[in-house]
């Protein structure tokens, strides 16, 4: 089946990676950020000085202790850092460079219950989310369906066909395992032009091709266009990368979270824009700094893509779920004179009030866009902007209003159970009133979850 999506936007951002893998990158210390795990009340399972191997639990969920977050590397825990209100902020592991691994017993993993508990204790559940609420799924649930997105349509996102090479068997094993966990189907969403055989001919799943601009790769958009979530239903969502991890666990009994990471963005040197293989938590400074065009003080180093990623900074680390690093100019020191009225032949905008929009009919330009908000925050003034970039059967403005006023009935009626913050990232990008929509959605979902559970 092919689903054609018209709405959406592919931002013409400069810095696409070349499909070359430049090898493995490592660092002395690896950092795991508990804030990466949404809907997970993180409790530390380790103390400073504990020795861990790849697969040892680092964190467990206070409410669902069977769900563990595991260490990606072997070594020693050197810091368990806390922030305000003693909230856990970081677990830092000093790598011993030996890559020792915990061996999991995968023999009896044919029964759904044993499989689920294996996945939970091996930290794989961190990668499986549920709609509603877009939080880490519960092993006790039986989802209506499981949706797997096999591509990312976000700006400069890594190419799945490239990443999946060499992981074909693990990928199919992972899909087979997921098929045991649902009463319905596993839906695999792939790009319409994907050439990968393992994706096109994946077994045990229902393959849907998606043709359209970003956010066609968002799993929430795919669900809404294939089989929407209704009140009371639970579906699980994950991506192809996690499916590979499941396959590795089942085929080899180990936790191996190594992944190709795309180095993207205008501020990485042209020929250094490529893929590297890395583990989550790897500190970026050492191997990223030589690849940058200029001094990192004027740059923004993002773990993830420019729409949903985290501002990690040059001294930060790759976050747990990310397979992309984006580096763009920060722009805090840029002063643009009378920018609101100048014709703007080089400004990127979806609005036809910029000359660039007209020139772009005749040219192919990739834009260098910095992190400035480029305007003041306002109340909702212009209408219809968000609808154009959200290919879901949802009235975004009224849903956002319902979330802001926390009108539960309206939220439910307008589709709050179908959305995740990432689905509103493009709305946030195009919004002339510069509202923080992803934040509004996340806080609304969290509050709603508290209210309903």
């Amino acid at each position: 089946m092919i689903v054609k999506l018209k709405k959406g936007l592919d931002i013409k951002l400069a810095g696409t990676p070349h499909p070359i893998n430049a090898g493995v990158v490592r660092s002395e210390n690896y950092t795991v950020y508990p804030s990466d795990f949404v809907g997970f009340a993180a409790k530390p399972a380790v103390r400073e000085g504990d020795k861990v191997v790849a697969g040892s639990p680092l964190l467990y969920d206070k409410k669902r202790p069977e769900i563990k977050i595991v260490s990606p590397v072997s070594g020693e825990v050197i810091a368990v850092n806390r922030g305000e209100k003693r909230r856990l902020t970081e677990i830092v592991i000093h790598s011993d460079g030996k890559n020792k691994e915990m061996i999991f017993n995968t023999k009896d993993a044919n029964s759904p219950e044993i499989l689920k508990s294996l996945l939970a204790s091996a930290g794989i559940f961190a990668f499986i989310r549920q709609r509603p609420y877009d939080i880490i799924a519960s092993p006790t649930d039986i989802p209506r369906d499981i949706f797997v997105t096999a591509f990312s349509s976000a700006p400069l996102a890594p190419n799945t066909d490239f990443i999946i090479k060499g992981n074909e068997d693990d990928f199919q094993s992972g899909l087979d395992a997921l098929a045991k966990l649902t009463s319905g189907k596993v839906h695999l969403g792939i790009r319409f032009d994907s050439k990968s055989n393992v994706l096109q001919d994946a077994k045990n799943v229902e393959v849907t091709r998606f043709d359209g601009p970003h956010p066609s790769g968002n799993v929430g958009v795919q669900i809404n266009n294939v089989k929407p979530v209704n009140k009371g239903e639970i579906v699980w969502t994950t991506d192809f990368q996690a499916v590979i991890f499941i396959g590795r666990l089942l085929n080899r009994g180990i936790v191996d979270f190594s992944r190709p990471v795309a180095l993207t963005g205008s501020e990485i040197k042209e020929d250094e824009r490529c893929y590297v293989t890395a583990l989550p938590g790897v500190a970026v400074s050492e191997w990223l700094t030589p690849r940058l065009k200029s001094d990192s003080a004027h740059l923004r180093v993002i773990s993830g893509n420019v729409l949903t990623g985290i501002n990690a900074g040059i001294y930060g680390s790759l976050h747990y779920f990310d397979n992309q690093i984006s580096v763009i100019p920060d722009g805090y020191d840029k002063n643009e004179f009378l920018g609101w009225i100048l014709p703007g032949p080089d400004k990127y905008s979806v609005a036809w009030s910029f000359l660039s929009r007209f020139i772009d009919i005749f040219r192919r330009k990739e834009y260098v866009i910095d992190a400035r908000i480029k305007g003041g925050k306002r109340a909702m003034i212009f209408s219809g902007e968000w609808e154009n970039v959200l290919p879901m059967d949802i009235l975004p403005e009224y849903l956002i209003r319902a979330i802001i006023t926390f009108d539960i009935e309206k939220m439910e009626n307008l589709g709050v159970y179908e959305i995740a913050p990432e689905d509103f990232a493009l709305c946030e990008f195009v919004d002339t009133s510069k509202m923080e929509l992803q934040k509004i959605v996340r806080e609304g979902l969290d509050l709603l979850y508290k209210e309903m559970n």
Binding site: Y332, A351, S353, A371, R372, K374, T432, K439
Partner: protein, 387 residues
């Protein structure tokens, strides 16, 4: 522009909360963000933003109004010299009009922006751009002979009671400029319609002068008539399209409004759904009355309705106000249609006042949230059926 940036940075501390000029913080910030694009970077959510912002969007509306304003100035001079029976150069004509119109714009901006800055300062917020558009629209939709003090009072009333009490730009229910117009209309009716207000006459006028607008002539006629200019010469539809007729300053030239409409539609700032359906609603209603046709005003053709009075100006610049019109796409069709329908309905059936666009837009503004509510309910019903 570095020296300017440096100068602003130097004086900025004075406007901070503890600074000695902190009472003018909103003014300084407004000026600063006018001169330089704010360089605050994103803290949460997306790391990159579209270059568009509300300041630019509002400025485009002001630009789209410029042809109407410039032509309006010329027409003020043209009507003046026509009634005085003098022949002047193009420049002289324009100059007369510019001198007549500019004070009204200046008064509207000073009063309106003064209130906006005060409120922004008081609420500790950033100054908002909404009044940039309102401030130029108010002079454009009043007769030339409206006294400046009336414009000042009406502007203050509209900004305070139609906008700020609701929370500022984005929260208002009614179009602010039209509220100013409506205030004048109800408070000082003699200055808002009739034969004397639409033309700035000199000390003497030539014999046979009548300052009634074409729409006014039809409204007061007891039988089908041929509309004339102030000198009694017949007016063709082409004259009305070009706009050399008596009327409120900005509304007369359909050509200039058309240019503005193209700017608004190409840039996507005005919604084509609203604009189109105002015309559809107006034309449909006019056609129905043509069929009934018992009074002269019922017989006015749809084309004449569009060419006369403020219908086109309202359809292009007022009904499309994003804040006060419907926000759902389907709602916009309904909203526009009702605006067009009621404008013609009021024009034809209201004997006291020939124009209906202002009242129609304000009336349907009030119903816009209800229309949106119904559209949203339809979506909810559709979603519930999925199960």
């Amino acid at each position: 522009m570095n020296f300017l940036r440096n100068y602003l940075d130097k004086i900025k501390p004075n406007f901070e909360p503890e600074g000695r000029l902190s009472a003018f913080r909103s003014l300084f910030e407004g000026l600063e963000s006018f001169l330089f694009v704010p360089n605050t970077t994103s803290k949460s959510g997306v790391h990159i933003h579209d270059a568009n912002d509300s300041k630019r969007a509002m400025s485009i509306v002001v630009i789209a109004l410029m042809p109407c304003l410039l032509f309006g100035m010329y027409n003020v001079g043209y009507q003046h010299f026509l009634s005085a029976g003098e022949v002047t150069s193009l420049f002289q004509t324009f100059l007369f009009g510019a001198i007549a119109v500019l004070p009204a714009i200046i008064v509207a901006y000073i009063v309106g922006l003064g209130i906006e800055f005060t409120v922004a300062q008081w609420k500790g917020e950033e100054i908002q751009e909404g009044f940039l558009v309102t401030g130029i629209m108010i002079p454009l939709i009043v007769p030339i002979d409206t006294p400046l003090w009336m414009i000042a009072i009406a502007t203050a009333f509209a900004v305070i009671f139609a906008k700020e009490v609701f929370g500022g730009t984005g929260y208002n229910i009614w179009n602010v400029a039209l509220i100013a117009r409506a205030f004048l209309f109800f408070a000082y009716p003699s200055k808002m319609s009739g034969e004397t207000v639409f033309i700035r006459t000199g000390e003497q006028v030539v014999d046979g002068f009548s300052g009634a607008t074409p729409l006014g002539q039809i409204g007061t006629a007891s039988h089908a008539i041929q509309v004339t200019d102030t000198m009694g010469n017949n007016l063709s539809q082409f004259d009305m399209f070009l706009g050399l007729i008596p009327g409120s300053i900005g509304e007369t030239s359909k050509l200039c409004i058309f240019i503005g409409a193209v700017i608004l539609l190409v840039t996507g700032i005005a919604n084509w759904r609203t604009m189109l359906s105002v015309f559809v609603g107006g034309i449909a209603t006019a056609l129905i009355f043509n069929l009934i046709g018992t009074t002269p005003s019922m017989l006015v053709s749809p084309l004449d309705h569009i060419l006369l009075g403020g219908f086109t100006f309202g359809a292009v610049f007022m009904a499309t106000d994003p804040v006060t019109s419907c926000r759902t796409n389907n709602g916009k069709y309904i909203f526009g249609f009702l605006v067009g329908m009621f404008a013609i309905l009021i024009r034809i059936l209201n004997p006291g006042y020939p124009e209906g666009m202002m009242l129609s837009i304000l009336l349907i503004n009030s119903f816009a949230p209800l229309i949106d509510y119904l559209v949203v309910e339809v979506n909810i019903k559709k979603r519930l059926k999925r199960i």
